[in-house]
């Protein structure tokens, strides 16, 4: 099926069909199913999906209200080769960012050589001197990363931003797959999709590897701000799927430079804390002094080497949007390679010439706060009023270090089910998730595709009314496939037939009596007779 370009998506890369109008790899079956179901069928499936999500309690909180993350019925498909490039690019980027963090919280060589301006690092809100010289037990600071990608007008994947603090959304990647398989199983028929379910296991492995080296069987805890946090579903999901403890600050205390949790069997040590609360609230001894969410003394325990904190404290300096333009230079500096995934052009507003250029062309820019997330504070020039633009200009002049500007990039589009089962193109981005265990950086195939649901909108954040899509990476490698696209030969090595037959209630004298009663009435209810069992080869033989 052909998705028509809308005025808002002029020139956008279409992920469903190529320039000739033919479906791209893997989209053929999807297109067929959409056509076959039609608007009515899709509406029916949408109801089924809503009931499923409600029942499962797969929610996020928006302005204090719990609601299901809107999952679109049409999957987003990424080809095997395309994904290969993305994966390599993400691994490369995280390697460089790890080296950067080790550098700026240590010798600072990259700053001495002027590759990254020292002033940007020292003025970053997330450069924490409390973390200086604090080296994690296995050296990993970025245990989990979410790298936001977009596809530009030419279809090239570009990095829009890095998330190296508490990237969220991976639970929806897993749940979206299960939900789509539940409500729209037909679309899976034509494709071999790489599974995503192994993520919690990978994360657990990485967290275990992060433990202090003298602990053989570490206790892992997920630290959540509590049930009122917007991502609480995800915190509980990950803890459950890893078999880890889900703890809040009030469950924990530090003593003798060790971290403990209060249990019914007394205090128990925690060796690795996967924290999902911000640095500022993590340890009132060093940061916000009246924080009730964190644990006093946690940083000292980490510095003593008795507990590992993942992700590390102070990672925010590396995903600061004013540092972002220098990531390709970091990759060159540390790895001697060119960046495999290009950045989006970005203006450094603390540079006078660049700032003047941006302010003169605000209507064609996207302006973002350097440490914002969730789309808060973001202004898209083309859809802002004159007054708003003037206000933005004043704000930038007031504190240029807190803002960056980028030319507007038209995000690629995917067909999306909108009102009453109609299918229209909507803009999407992609957040792949990566896990670093110190030996290997694992990139989960796919990631969270977020979709801007209002027509023409370029803002995909779930906190701004965005939805999500199940994201497929096609598996086209190293399998022998037959004519129907199925792998051959099957990997079944041994199948055992159960030794005993199923038993069923014997047809007894009582049953014969009942049959006679039934015959007397000249009718037999379909289930008036106790059902006959199957031929028995071991169990109770029905008479």
């Amino acid at each position: 099926m052909r998705t028509e370009a809308t005025p808002g998506s002029l020139g956008a890369y279409d992920e469903m069909v190529d320039d000739s109008g033919a479906p791209r790899a893997g989209m053929g079956t999807v297109a067929d199913v959409l056509t076959r179901l039609g608007a009515e069928g899709l509406s029916e499936r949408a109801r089924l999906r809503d009931a499923y999500l409600d029942r499962q309690g797969i929610t996020f909180s928006l302005s204090g209200r719990e609601r299901p993350l809107p999952l679109d019925l049409v999957p987003r498909v990424v080809g095997a080769e395309e994904w290969d490039r993305v994966e390599k690019g993400i691994v490369q980027r995280i390697k460089a960012l790890e080296m950067f963090l080790a550098d700026v919280y240590g010798p600072g060589e990259i700053l001495d050589e002027g590759v990254v301006p020292r002033r940007l690092v020292t003025t970053s809100n997330h450069y924490h001197r409390a973390a200086y010289g604090l080296v994690p037990p296995n050296g990993v600071r970025i245990a989990v990363a979410g790298i936001d990608l977009i596809r530009d007008e030419a279809g090239v994947f570009r990095v829009l931003e890095d998330n190296l603090r508490c990237p969220s959304g991976v639970s929806y990647v897993l749940e979206n797959r299960r939900t789509l398989a539940h409500v729209l199983p037909e679309v899976f028929a034509g494709a071999q999709v790489r599974p995503v379910a192994e993520y919690p296991e990978r994360l657990l492995d990485a967290l275990r590897a992060a433990a202090p080296s003298d602990v053989s069987d570490p206790t892992i805890a997920v630290l959540t701000p509590g049930v009122h946090n917007s991502a609480h579903f995800e915190h509980a999901f990950l803890a459950r799927r890893m078999g880890a403890e889900l703890v809040e600050g009030r469950d924990l205390f530090c003593r003798d430079d060790r971290l403990w949790m209060r249990t019914v069997r007394g205090a128990r040590p925690i060796h690795v804390v996967y924290r999902r609360i911000d640095d500022d609230f993590l340890d009132p001894v060093h940061f916000v002094p009246n924080s009730l969410l964190g644990v006093p003394g946690l940083l000292n325990a980490a510095r003593a080497g008795n507990v590992a904190i993942a992700n590390a404290v102070g990672n925010g300096v590396a995903d600061d949007k004013a540092i972002y333009p220098y990531v390709p230079a970091m990759i060159r500096y540390y790895l001697g390679e060119e960046a495999l995934l290009p950045n989006v052009d970005t203006y450094d507003l603390s540079d006078d010439d660049q700032r003047h250029h941006v302010i003169a062309n605000l209507a064609r820019m996207v302006v973002k706060p350097v440490d914002g997330s969730g789309g808060y504070g973001l202004v898209i020039g083309s859809s802002a009023t004159e007054e708003q633009l003037a206000e933005v200009a004043r704000t930038i002049e007031g504190d240029p270090r807190q803002w960056i500007a980028q030319p507007i990039v038209t995000l690629s589009t995917c067909p999306t089910v909108v009102k009453e089962g109609a299918v229209e193109p909507r803009h999407v981005d992609l957040r792949p998730f990566a896990v670093n265990d110190g030996d290997e950086i694992f990139v989960l195939p796919g990631g969270l595709t977020r979709v801007a649901l209002p027509k023409g909108s370029l803002v995909v954040n779930s906190s701004q009314g965005g939805g999500s899509k199940d994201t497929w990476v096609l598996d086209e490698g190293d399998r022998v496939v037959d004519d129907e696209g199925r792998p051959t030969p099957p990997r079944v090595t041994r199948v055992r037939r159960s030794a005993v037959a199923r038993q069923s209630a014997p047809v007894s004298a009582d049953e014969r009596l009942r049959q006679q009663e039934g015959q007397q009435q000249q009718t037999l209810q379909p289930y008036a007779a106790l059902p006959q069992g199957l031929p028995a080869d071991g169990g109770d033989a029905p008479c």
């Binding site: 539940h182 078999g243 199925r486 990997r491 159960s498 005993v500 199923r502 059902p531």
Partner: protein, 302 residues
Amino acid sequence: MLSRLAESFYWIGRYLERAEATSRLLAEHYHLTVEDRSVPDDVASVVVLDALSLPHDVVTTPTELVRSLLGDIANPSTVIGSVAAARENARSVRDALSGDVFEALNGAHLTLTRGLTAAASPGASMFRVLERLMVVNGAIEWTMPRDEGHFFLSLGRALERIDMTSRLLDVRHDLVWPDTGPVAALRSAAGLSAFLRTGEAPTGDMVREFLVLDPTFPRSMLHSAQRAEAAVRGLQTLGGVDDGELVREVGLMRSRLEFAGGSHDPAIIDQLVHDTQLSGVSTAAAVAAAYFRQAGTIVWSH
């Protein structure tokens, strides 16, 4: 209690458990075959049919498999057939059941026979089955007196659970779907969370050992054997006529599992699954011999 009533209670327990375990197995199997397409459809169906000791001459795709195992009312191996059979047994002991139990079971039967096959997806069907069965089980637990009727029902449920868990293990998820199978097996037994709390990684061998030997998980073979033994002993204390054969069978089954722990040898686990499956059958035969089989009915012939 009349032997006839006792037998009906026992079969209510068995059929309710069979309906629940089968619908879990089917729903997860369907999910698995949708998400992991590394195994051809007919092979995927055959491994389930074989484990359930069902013939596999007609069924090929997962959809057909699920539809046929949900739907056939005359076949007690299907979900609806099991619920119908449980309800049929409940009718014959209606005077001995609490109103809540009969109404819940009758309601389950009505709802499921009217609309189960029409549900949009196997997962949705499973939800409906589980929802109804949970109500029945809740009514059984909190309105039935703990007398012979409850013991027979519990005994039937425990023996069926042993049987169904052994069949789930016979599917050999770990061999057929090496990547996704072990977790699917856990989900089929509603045991994923329980397993993950143990802190072990869900490898094929660890999952099998858990489903056989975990002492705290209600669907493990060991736990079910303990429940079966408790029911048998309960009947004895109420003056049951068991001559010792049933106590011996069920005790043997439980102790074989209980004292096999800690070996971590997959071959031993496989053997235990096999032996316990057979033990379940001989225990069931001993139940029938001790409590249900009266002197042969006298039939006049001309």
